[in-house]
Amino acid sequence: MSELVKKGAAELGELIAAGETSAAEVAQAHLDRIAAVDGRVNAFLHVDAETVLAQARKVDERRAAGEELGPLAGVPIAHKDVFTTTDMPTTAGSKILEGWRPPYDATITARLRAAGLVILGKTNMDEFAMGSSTENSAYGVSRNPWDLGRVPGGSSGGSSAAVAAYEAPLSTGTDTGGSIRQPAAVTGIVGVKPTYGGSSRYGVIAFASSLDTPGPFARNVLDAALLHEAFSGHDRMDSTSVDAPVPPVVEGARRADVQGMRVGVVKEFAGDGYQPGVTARFAEAVETLESLGAKVVEVSCPNFVHALPAYYLIAPSEASSNLARFDAMRYGLRVGDDGTRSAEEVMALTRAQGFGPEVKRRIMLGTYALSSGYYDAYYGKAQQVRTLIKRDFENAFEQVDVLVSPTTPTTAFPIGERADDPIAMYLADLCTIPANLTGNAAISVPCGLADGLPVGLQIMAPVLGDDRVYRVGAAVERALEDRWGGPLLARAPELVEAK
């Protein structure tokens, strides 16, 4: 493995800027790594070496021409296949969009390009971002680099696997119920769900519009902050985009101190269902925060336990409406148009063939929750629970600056274990969902191993308090890496490279 692929994004950006290497050389090193290991990891759905090298050469030319470039210029990135890209197919992990070339770039795609990031390819995901394992992808499961028999989390599991397997120093994800934080936790990397509206949804294939939040993956907190800063900020093309300055996330990551900060441990996220090793690593992380000068208190958020059922009414309801756009008329798959069938028949045949089982389940569940006679009992009630969870957060943040919990109740589970048990699968997002329902910023940082597999610490901050999750995350990262003598990922087994 080339030394270049072991380096983080900030370091690569500096080396390229100093002329010690080039964007093209860095891109080639990552393409070689992908060629060597992705046959087993299956993080990518699409990689085209020519497109990658052309992007990298363009960055090198821009620099040679004297253009002022940002800190990530020339750094490679893996891009979740939910973001539209004009020069690469975009499928959202679904057969209904197989081979689709979008007519425009997502705002985040355009901002990555403007910042000089080199897009290596598109990463695998649960179909339409519905899932916690990538097992719902129409294109096969991605594998966890720590144990190829286990899932890398999901829905952004291709993106977490790519970064953990050193195929890319950075990647993008989207987090609707935990789809960045959970895969980051189970692969031993950093993942951030920004404040809702802090990152643009324009050109992000919609799952649940009031929850969907694009965010970064990286191998360290500072790299995640640099990416967060590069693609965030107001977008006139997304009417729910926040028209406010991007929180000082890079400053937070560099500051990395918690002296005098008040940290609240969420009392409800412990006990039955939590793997003992997860509980132990979490307790140690909390002690670490205390030893760094944080004031730790226990905080009760009694309604957080209702977040999971409320989410599984709200998200499918929004999805059933959003996915109505896949109607076989304007783009994507069309099945059975033989000249005799009506548009409605063609639509129903196409959707039955193009969508996988989990997507069908959620469309049906959402249609049920929104149907007359059930609306008040289900969707209406879930929206009231959403208010109660918001009040829990507000009360908590009167007492503390950040809240902490384990990111997931368990470490990575074996492929196939929960594939046909939707309710067991949904539990993977138990601790991450509250922040989606209320729009709060949250991060997952590695906090150790349980039975040889990574455990994540979740840190949650108020809306637009994104800098705090980076500040606390970086402090924990520094202290734990000092104790471990290096990053957690250095303890992952080496993936044998194909010749």
Partner: protein, 99 residues
């Protein structure tokens, strides 16, 4: 008692424009029954007089200036169409044939 009957599931499939076979309906009916029973727990939450929250941010009526800006040219908008004709999407018949 089941939370949802197989007939209701078949009706939902029609509403959702999903042409599902009998096997798939049987399988989904059992799973939806389980899922609905699990999520129905929200009904036990005492939330009388609690206003609903539909969105994370308190945004209402976001406007932008009414300016003419470039839009997708027809050839790009139609590039991925399953069928196109005369700069338009070509779709299967949407009305029954006239008697």
């Amino acid at each position: 008692m089941s939370a949802i009957t197989r007939d209701e599931v078949a009706h939902l499939a029609r509403l959702s424009r999903l042409a599902l076979g009998d096997d798939e309906l049987d399988h989904l009916a059992a799973q939806l029954d389980q899922i609905i029973s699990a999520v129905a727990r929200v009904q036990e939450v005492a939330a009388q007089d609690i206003p609903p929250t539909s969105h994370a941010l308190p945004l209402t009526n976001v406007y932008r200036a009414d300016e003419v800006r470039p839009s997708l040219p027809p050839d790009r908008a139609l590039a991925a169409a399953p069928a196109a004709q005369d700069d338009r999407f070509r779709v299967p018949r949407i009305l029954d044939e006239e008697a």
